[in-house]
Symmetry: C2
Subunit: 345 residues, 2 copies
Amino acid sequence: MRAAVYHGPRDVRVEDVPEPELEAATDAVVRVTHTAVCGSDLWFYRGDSDRDVPSTVGHEPMGIVEAVGDDVRSVAPGDRVFAPFKISCGACEFCRKGLHTSCVNGEGWGGDNGGAQGEKIRCPHADGTLVRVPDRYADDEDALRSLLPLTDVMGTGHHAAVSAGVGAGDTCVVIGDGAVGLCGVAAARRLGAERIVAVGHHDDRLDLAESFGATDTVAERGDAAGERIRELTHGGTNHVLECVGASSSMELATEVCRPGGTIGYVGVPHGLDGGLDLFDFFPNNLTLRGGMAPVRAYAEELMADILQGTLDPAPVFTKTVDLENVAEGYRAMDEREAVKVLVEV
Amino acid sequence: MRAAVYHGPRDVRVEDVPEPELEAATDAVVRVTHTAVCGSDLWFYRGDSDRDVPSTVGHEPMGIVEAVGDDVRSVAPGDRVFAPFKISCGACEFCRKGLHTSCVNGEGWGGDNGGAQGEKIRCPHADGTLVRVPDRYADDEDALRSLLPLTDVMGTGHHAAVSAGVGAGDTCVVIGDGAVGLCGVAAARRLGAERIVAVGHHDDRLDLAESFGATDTVAERGDAAGERIRELTHGGTNHVLECVGASSSMELATEVCRPGGTIGYVGVPHGLDGGLDLFDFFPNNLTLRGGMAPVRAYAEELMADILQGTLDPAPVFTKTVDLENVAEGYRAMDEREAVKVLVEV
């Protein structure tokens, strides 16, 4: 079968690789129909993080179940499913409390289960991992395109909003205009925020943020960004969604968080080698909450709203490629031509 | 009048200083009867933090109101009162939401209001700052000794427990066996914790921790401490009270916090020049909450329990000196002979 394989910085090729097969009784094999390129894929693509060479890539799979092991109960061949970026058993202490990213049996995509940017994957712990799309929408391309972000960015943006404590009537600030930040805006609106200030550096993305529910946008950089946000929020906000993970964005989050407020952070920390400066947090009683988003926990709840049409993250896909052209998708995201790339397999 | 004056590292002298007088209509002058030496006083005492020389010191005052300005309504001359370590107006946004340490009119003790280790202080914003002791207990020395820690350490330990989300039936870990850590143990028990693991390095203080409600104590150091705590808590706890503020204690807190758990921190960050390593927080979705404790917000609630006898932080005072011998109090705390020193003025 064909799959995207990483060979080194800026070198992703689609090649023939062995087909994954059922190994354990709790496995499923899924024929991938839709997947995506993620902002976090750019770290190895740019050489900023290590990754085995060669290795299969991709972690946002949606497709049709092809085969299931004897112990799989929740899905059957022919079902339309998608899976979060992390595999989870659904049965351990952490899965049961909704923290699937800490699953004691958890693992990521790639390696011997196959990368999600390929024709097939083997899904371990299929009952705990796969989310079944209701049959009525199983072949509805519009619905599938809207559901695909639940594999990662929509659940992650929602985690930022939940972690920041956003509720009805709140004012919040969303830092980052990538796919996660945009989904954070949509999540904050869904949770009832009355005022949503989106912060980014790209006019087209801030326009998207407005269409997702941002009431204000801030494109300033450096000190000017903080000043503008404090002006808009009368001195700072109680709810900051930090959707980047860079030291500069965490500093800005701290600067615009009102005393007693909460920063919900979901950007994988990078460039934070100096660590987080607690001297900014301590006097103001700022709370830091968040981390790697347990998107499996949020999938059913968010799917319900997507299917009833009150939430639609599909516009984060500003470009679509087929699997053979996945390298073009990486390039377009690397050069910020595309917010997020959908890959049709 | 007489007051303790800081002249440089390990040089605190009691001297004649000018008496404070009413300046604003919202001021009160309080004749101090009881005060204390705080662990945080040791930072300037040891030369670890800067402080003006000479300057009056102390921030935990209790006494009798001597005079009030025309606008003061809640206290009158003759009332027994105490005040938190920070002055707060009681009327601003932050005071109204219980975050008195972020009061927009706030200030600390010392300078022109006088240090609390002296015969008199001028209390700005008397209505927002002073807590009146019910008349029935106004001259009850045992009650006053138990109430005095509400000026700082008892409210701070309570803030750690509240910030860590401790509730009925919980297991928690309290890091630090100083006065704040001990009060954290008492606060956790008061909030209903079923299992309280106290962590420190001094047998006598850990004995005190047990008398305050600790069900287990851990005296190990380094890696052994983390191992022992994880063993006792079946792999980590959801509620950690970080009551030290050093990098080693924050690292231990991170190490023993269960995925999805919360670290309530109240130790002023020191020795954390490298910052907080988010790489430990992100994958496990740890929450960091806390900061400078708004002890004014907690004073009435905790006072009620102290006066009804269900909470008693008085044993943190393991030594008592009179004002003229306050230097001996600093010495005893510096050399860890005393947990906390009460100063009779």
